[in-house]
């Protein structure tokens, strides 16, 4: 059950160039949020930018929720200017998150800002005592750590890194790290840019491993009312149909997704 909250902003700090970590305090929201769910945040009291911005829940600790976001446009720029002590108009938690009622080792694969939602997932799996391996990719060491890598490592989970500039771990793609781990009895949880997800889905399929992917799409309502955020999916019989990223997603079974 999602709601509207005027969440208190505990802190909002730049953790890497253009990447911010915002902690808000809102007990009910913290209690409700599940891994892979997102918040729909109003970034302006006025009419421009008009729409809310969807941002994943990165971390929950007591009454506090953390989000990590990258400044890419006007909305995230305004979000970066939010002062601690203020209130944030937050709608959530929204969406169908990761299914953690799975078995076998969990392999978390995150690329760039896609690392952010893996934080709460790792927290949950860790609490469940699940064997979890994290594969974290990004442009630079600093960005990988800021986008959520350091949170994963902080839980004491094994984390393998891949960076574009080789500043941390493998000088290459996170999918190369994944390939090294396969085949294996496991379940893959992935979030990141489309090309990465497509590749992860392909590897999972080739090795017959279940795989959940968290997708992004521009959103109108965030609650399933506008049909603006569709993802083309296929049933086993091959018939294609649209599902709502905000409601049936953002996490989908990778095998269902019709990749563009």
């Amino acid at each position: 059950m999602s709601k509207l909250f005027a969440a208190e902003v505990v802190s909002n700090t730049q953790v890497a160039p253009g990447v911010f970590k915002l902690v808000m305090c809102e007990a009910e929201l913290a209690r409700l949020a599940r891994p892979g769910q997102f918040l729909n945040i109003r970034v302006s009291a006025g009419t421009a930018p008009l729409l809310r911005r969807p941002i994943s829940v990165h971390w929950v600790e007591g009454d506090n929720l953390t989000i990590i976001f990258q400044v890419v446009g006007q909305g995230t720029q305004l979000l970066a200017q939010v002062q601690s002590g203020g209130r944030l108009d937050v709608q959530g938690p929204l969406g169908h998150g990761f299914n953690t009622q799975t078995s076998g080792q969990a392999i978390l694969v995150g690329g760039g800002m896609g690392l952010a939602p893996l934080g709460l997932l790792a927290q949950t799996l860790h609490r469940q005592g699940r064997t979890t391996l994290c594969l974290a990719g990004g442009r630079t060491a600093e960005l990988v750590q800021a986008s959520g890598g350091s949170s994963l490592a902080g839980l004491g989970l094994p984390v393998h890194y891949a960076t574009d500039d080789g500043s941390l771990g493998l000088n290459g793609l996170v999918t190369e790290l994944l390939l090294r781990e396969l085949p294996r009895e496991a379940v893959i949880y992935a979030c990141g840019p489309q090309p990465m997800l497509r590749e992860v889905a392909k590897l999972a399929q080739e090795h017959g491993i279940p795989c959940q992917v968290s997708l992004e799409e521009h959103m109108g309502c965030g609650v399933g009312a506008c049909l603006g955020c569709m993802c083309k999916t296929a049933m086993p019989q091959g018939k294609e149909y649209y599902q709502r990223v905000c409601t049936e997603g953002p996490v989908f079974d990778a095998a269902e997704v019709v990749w563009q």
Binding site: K3, L4, T47, L50, G220, C221, C226, L227, G228, M230
Partner: protein, 309 residues
């Protein structure tokens, strides 16, 4: 004499539909009524208008379907819907259970489609009225063509009128030279009320990809950006036809809603506002009541057209 809020009459009659207050939600922005129930109880609303339904199932347009614009947004959903049979079987039961007046928005490729859907809905029962969308800019055939030609608009209206006893509200397109001509035509053809405005036809181009942002190229512009155009058209139409007007287009706050009522709207619709502030419909109901109270107005009907009456 100032009135307490509870003494103020908020009831309005929209072409035969008694609404407990003048605030409704717009088709296509409120799903099938349940999606926003966690934020505002449907019983607090005058009514809701559900997503456009067609005779056959429609997959909708390819993605992307949305783009944000200054104080507005473009959509090209393309009337994705399960078709009238699945709608009646799978959605209508829940909709009937809602404690508010529910209007169903219908579209079609031709008069027969509209007539068919209207008849099926009437037979199925349990709804308060039909909103006839002759103005959807996002589908190739049907939709907007009907809305831009008074003769065709009247034909579609008559086809629906002849196939239902339910109140018929015809939803007008703003993409016309003279909206009053279309309004008059549909009223003569039997519309019990008119609703306006649907979205303005617009587009955006992605300068990095050098291609339109929307897969469907053009889409419908909604939100506060279009409010001045909507207020103008409500003002024109309310003075041109003898039936009530359901006004919409960019309403975000009670002040906006009051502007529409003063321009001549009997009731108002909130569309894009729901995305921005899911509590908006409730806030608008309360704000209208507060405005009446502050001015000693005992009946919300006194606002209707007050800026020109």
């Amino acid at each position: 004499m100032s009135k307490t809020m509870s003494e103020i009459n908020l009831r309005v009659n929209l072409g035969g539909i008694e609404l407990s207050n003048p605030v409704t939600t717009c088709s296509g922005t409120y799903g099938f009524g349940a999606e926003y129930a966690a934020y505002v109880d449907p019983s607090e609303l005058g009514g809701i208008v559900v997503k456009g339904v067609t005779r056959e199932i429609r997959p909708g347009n390819p993605m992307p379907r949305l783009a944000e614009t200054p104080s507005g947004m473009l959509n090209s959903i393309g009337l994705q819907n399960p078709g009238i049979d699945a709608f009646i079987a799978d959605y209508l039961p829940q909709i009937r259970a809602l404690e508010t007046k529910v209007l169903v928005n219908i579209s079609g490729n031709n008069e027969e489609d509209y007539a068919f859907v209207a008849r099926r809905l009437s037979e199925a029962g349990g709804i308060a009225g039909i909103e006839v969308n002759i103005s959807c800019p996002n589908v190739k055939c049907g939709g907007i063509q009907f809305g831009t030609d008074p003769v065709m608009a009247a034909q579609v209206t008559r086809a629906v009128r002849d196939n239902t006893q339910l109140p018929v509200i015809v939803k007008l397109s703003p993409n016309v030279t003279d909206i009053t001509a279309v309004a008059r035509a549909v009223v003569e053809a039997g519309a019990d009320a008119v609703s306006l405005i649907n979205t303005l036809l617009g587009m955006a181009i992605d300068i990095q990809r050098v291609r339109p942002v929307l897969a469907n190229v053009m889409g419908g512009l909604s939100g506060p950006a279009i409010k001045p155009v909507a207020v103008r058209m409500v003002w024109q139409v309310a003075q041109a036809v003898p039936v009530p007007v359901l006004g919409m287009g960019g309403i975000l706050t009670a002040e906006d809603a009051i502007e529409f009522m003063l321009a001549g709207a009997t009731a108002v619709g909130l569309g894009t506002a729901n995305f921005v502030n899911p509590a908006a419909p409730r806030e608008v109901v309360q704000g209208i009541a507060a405005y009446c109270q502050a001015r000693g107005i005992d009946d919300v009907n006194k606002l209707i057209g007050a800026a020109w009456k």
